[in-house]
């Protein structure tokens, strides 16, 4: 049975975020591209905030309440990672998603408080003391290596699933996944609402912090 797993917003969010984070990686740490880095960071912030809201009001498959699972589910998934078809993130992948969202959100927010000691000053740096700005700038520079490790694990895990015949990556493109057993189709919210919310978030974020 073919199930619709990911709505259009989740898929759009995911691939836009891939694009934006790659851009942030390439433009980070180079004063020549700091203004582009700043704008991309704001887009990332809007994407992440919208995803978090969508995790409460969006499609059932995208809700945190569905994919944040306790230790038992995690352990049994690790013992048998290929068993069954999850109509959301699997118990381990769900925590990986939470971790990636938190790490990227922290990166986007600390970026607002950075000062490069040359000419770039984050739009909210004036709110904090110099010591705090220094600390957050340092965090912002160093944390990205950890984010890269997280993303590498994410990509590797999905590549392994593909090799083992679980088409998780294509589900993030088409939105569909094949289930051997008959399952209840998760309630899907039209992705357009998510994109509308994203547009709204982009507008106020750029107006305030652009």
């Amino acid at each position: 049975m073919v199930v619709t797993l990911w709505d259009a917003f989740i898929r759009g969010f995911h691939w836009l975020l891939v694009f934006v984070v790659t851009g942030l990686w390439l433009t980070g740490g180079n004063i020549t591209y700091i203004d582009i880095h700043h704008k991309l960071g704001l887009i990332a912030l809007a994407l992440l905030l919208t995803r978090i809201i969508w995790g409460f009001v969006g499609s059932e498959s995208a809700r945190f309440s569905r994919f944040i699972r306790g230790p038992q589910a995690i352990i049994s998934h690790i013992r048998n990672p290929l068993k069954g078809t999850w109509l959301t993130h699997n118990p381990v992948g769900g925590w990986a998603v939470v971790l990636m969202i938190v790490a990227l959100l922290a990166q986007a927010i600390t970026g607002l408080f950075t000062d490069d000691a040359i000419f770039f000053r984050g739009p909210l740096a004036h709110l904090l003391s110099n010591e705090w700005v220094r600390t957050l700038t340092s965090y912002h520079k160093q944390a990205f290596d950890w984010i890269l490790i997280l993303l590498a694990i994410h990509v590797l895990a999905n590549a392994l699933y593909s090799i083992k015949g679980k088409r998780l990556m294509s589900a993030m493109v088409t939105g569909k996944i094949e289930s051997e057993k008959p399952v209840e189709q998760p309630k899907i919210v039209h992705g357009g609402y998510g994109f509308g919310l994203l547009a709204f978030n982009l507008i106020w974020i750029f107006w305030w912090l652009g």
């Binding site: 000691a117 340092s138 160093q142």
Partner: protein
């Protein structure tokens, strides 16, 4: 002794004392004799560099109205300042990282540090020439070269 002799002796004496004074003064030409003074000296110099560059940055980045005269003055000030702090990485300031963002690797890669210093100073010199043109199109690339001149040492030689 005749008056002439007195004058001759006095002249020699004054010359000798003045010479000694100048030489002695020269031996203390550095503004610092202790490690902490050297750190303070270079930090103050960098802080002035930063203030002047930030002022120009406001004009280049459109946050402040462009004033050609003020810009030229700041560029000139930056040119002089760009030669100030580096002396304090030598002498009493050599290998000093206490209460400082300077990393020990500066003295391990001293010739690289020097060549980056030279690149920075050359970039500032070009910024001064561009400022004289009073043309933002000429100023902007030289301003960015200078910014890169700052960053090349901030990455690797300055604590994050």
């Amino acid at each position: 002794m005749s008056i002439k002799s007195w004058i001759a002796v006095a002249t020699i004496g004054i010359t000798a004392i003045t010479g000694w004074a100048i030489t002695a003064n020269h031996a203390q030409a550095s503004a610092f004799t202790t490690a902490s003074d050297a750190v303070e000296y270079r930090q103050k110099a960098f802080s002035l560099i930063r203030e002047n560059f930030a002022y120009m940055s406001g004009m280049v980045r459109g946050e402040r109205d462009y004033d050609a005269e003020a810009f030229k003055q700041r560029a000139q000030a930056l040119y002089h300042l760009s030669h100030i702090p580096f002396e304090a990485f030598t002498g009493a300031g050599e290998n000093v990282t206490a209460n400082s963002d300077a990393l020990p690797v500066i003295w391990e890669n001293w010739s690289d540090f020097e060549s980056k210093r030279d690149t920075f100073q050359a970039a500032v010199k070009e910024l001064v020439s561009a400022a004289a043109s009073e043309n933002m199109r000429e100023i902007r690339p030289k301003f960015m070269d200078t910014a890169r001149g700052c960053q090349q040492c901030h990455q690797g030689y300055r604590a994050d």
